[in-house]
Assembly symmetry: D2
Homo-oligomer: 255 residues x 4
């Protein structure tokens, strides 16, 4: 069971709700993944509509909504967005995202830490998206974040665990759940993240942009479970030398 | 469904039966993996015993036995071993393994092709373990092998898909199933092999040597299914540039 | 020519002076590398001695000294150390290093940015060691740093360009020289960093800990030149398909 | 010094002569690389011309010509081509290349071994291009090849050391020089090959297809020297933990 703040979740796969061809497809993908935490961008919501296209299906599914502050460029903007989200969605859970850079959407470590500290004081359960920076993750933890969400690669790049060496250190040092976010482009990437000891992963582009998002969501769910089970069971170490699974002495000698 | 020769299998995970702490543990791991094809070394069997420790539990499980010729160093030895196996186990399915090299257990391409050709003529369903050599795989296919089993890394090394670039070419060119054998040390490796388009994978050391072989067998089964589903659903391409899953224009502008 | 602040250098290899078996060996390695910028830890210096063992040979070589603030854990400590270094060594060049974490020596992004801003105002030429964080590097540049020094891997790990995907973004966006620091364990790593477009690299452990530091220093110098020349000449792109260097149509047809 | 058969060479970089924009550019690149062994495809030569465009400049440079059998698909064709080359170029040195596959130009292990054995008996100094197959390399050595030339990646792919795990085993086991051929796309790849302990590398596409082949040839020459020097000097091992090059205890404590 994944525990974040005061809640527990059976699934260790978080989904993003962006980029799907339709709200229906998003809803089906969420269902296929057994995901219980879904992030959504405040900007996407038409808060004044009684039945927002994106929000209504999510509410119907009884998942924990995780509004994000994507699109904000400073701590001030992010805090404002968070307040709006809390009021509109009636949740104090928040994925904090601050990226001044429009091309690669890289998170700003300074503004993120600043906003995180304020938001924790304002009563939010804060899950910050951040670079794979071991000291930054430790500081985010120290100001009270409920988890940290270091990136595996650039958002939407599908490049996988490009920051693996840093993620290993982050996971080793963390006392809150480490959720690998961004860049995971294939189930094998998600499995590898879990094998490192990540508490969970967040996937969006690789599922939403697939030709078959529902099948892909299910594939990611299986991979996350596989990787987590393997981590728990204890992975064998690499060896530069072969270790025979079958006897290599000439079996004929034994006849 | 995986089709090899005239048989079909629901599972795309093949297991090796060596290295388990006990036959019971092997049996439980096979059960947990839903594996339907299990390879076993002829040398391990005490053919004259009525109830061989390794063989009896496998027979009870109704899996397809895949005796291997591990331990042989020449085509001649391998053909002899194959004949013995066919008689003893009452199956003409065979995993052909010829490795003169005791340290890394690397397969001999010359002897393997020679033996494969003879064994096909002798009526065997031949699945040869071989190096990740695209021309060799094509030639093994041409002499009538039912599948090819190129290695991902050295046997027992747990290093994963070290031969990935060659495997991609092999899979692209093959008209028989490509089963990645040897070196897969984690579920993420198995998922990655399936995402490349492999028909199946064979795992032994990573499961048998795990602290919890039963949990690990199940984890590999999930990963194989995840990877195959993702391959079928269509994986997204890598991108060197971020593609936002959430809107990156300043959402405040819209308020 | 590498230009940093108001100085130009023929060499794009920076050396660290720590870990050498003797000051003589350090001096010889610096000479063999043609390095013109050498970093040294303030702590190592016995500032009150007329002829410090480490400092005297460096001064005799007419290289630009680059004192570092290694060992400091906060911006305040780093600024204090920088002032001491400026006075003692008569240089306002400074490698800013702040790592609160004693195990992996990972730099603190928050304290580093804070100190950099102050040190620039105090007249220092600031070269900050930092995580491979594209936004942080941009901010360090914006407060006036003369270069940025993102890490390739953990200090002393010899793991090479583990942060490659982030370094590519940093280099693409930078308007000051990007010097890859930490983790480069082999000449091939240094060449690869330069092929990405890095302005320079800093190496210490891989040279100082080698069995033959002088030969290794020369090897790194060659590799840095090789990588930089290749970057300038224009590297070819990867291809998933073979492109024959020799004719592949049957040459016999032409006879 | 690189020793192959009865000759010694100062340079450990071999060049291919194909794909250059002009013979002059090829000549200049060979000169810039200090290369002493140049391979050339028989088909490219107009043997009946007194002054062949490709051959004349090479002869003028006093390099060892290494005619290759590129374009042949069987041992029989390769032996015939070798005889033609020996007569036309007055050298019994030969790069044996047999690739039935026109797309990826992968070498045929069976035909290559067969031809190698015959050519050695016919008095040739045989350097076979082959897949990175440890057993095949050992067998090629056993039939009398003067060196083995396993591939790093597909010809012309510029992908680098994709077969690294196999090359390590080949190098460990070899008693003749191991020359990494094919796929090296950047000086860092060549340096890495030499750091593994390769005796030499062969490069063609990455140099000939560069925008500046002369500068690139020089860059590869430096990288080969760097990698070989580092191998000789003794590379440090990787570490998952940081090892401080500068003191990490608080230096202030010492003041």
């Amino acid at each position: 069971m994944l525990r974040i703040a005061d809640k527990t979740f059976n699934s260790r796969l978080l989904l993003g709700s962006g980029k799907f061809a339709s709200p229906q497809l998003m809803q089906q993908a969420v269902a296929a993944s057994n995901c219980q935490l879904v992030t959504l961008a405040l900007k996407r919501l038409e808060l004044d509509k009684a039945h927002d296209d994106l929000l209504s299906p999510l509410k119907a599914m009884n998942v924990q909504l995780l509004p994000n502050t994507s699109g904000t460029k400073t701590a001030k903007e992010a805090v404002f967005a968070a307040e709006l989200a809390r009021e509109a969605l009636q949740t104090h859970w928040l994925k904090l995202e601050i990226h001044p850079d429009a091309r690669y959407l890289m998170p700003d470590p300074i503004e993120t830490l600043l906003a995180a500290e304020q938001l924790v004081k304002l009563g939010f359960v804060v899950l910050p998206y951040c670079s794979a920076d071991p000291v930054l993750c430790k500081r985010l933890e120290q100001v009270g974040c409920a988890a940290v969400m270091p990136l595996g690669a650039a958002i939407g790049s599908n490049q996988g665990l490009q920051t693996r060496a840093m993620l290993e250190i982050i996971i080793e040092q963390a006392t809150v759940p480490v959720i690998i976010d961004a860049g995971l482009g294939a189930p094998s990437h998600a499995a590898a993240a879990m094998e490192l000891g990540a508490a969970a992963v967040l996937v969006n582009t690789a599922i939403a942009s697939s030709e078959n998002p529902v099948a892909m969501a299910h594939a990611f769910a299986l991979a996350v479970e596989a990787g987590h089970s393997a981590f728990t069971a204890g992975l064998a170490h690499h060896s530069s030398q072969a270790i025979a699974s079958s006897p290599f002495t000439d079996f004929l000698a034994a006849l």
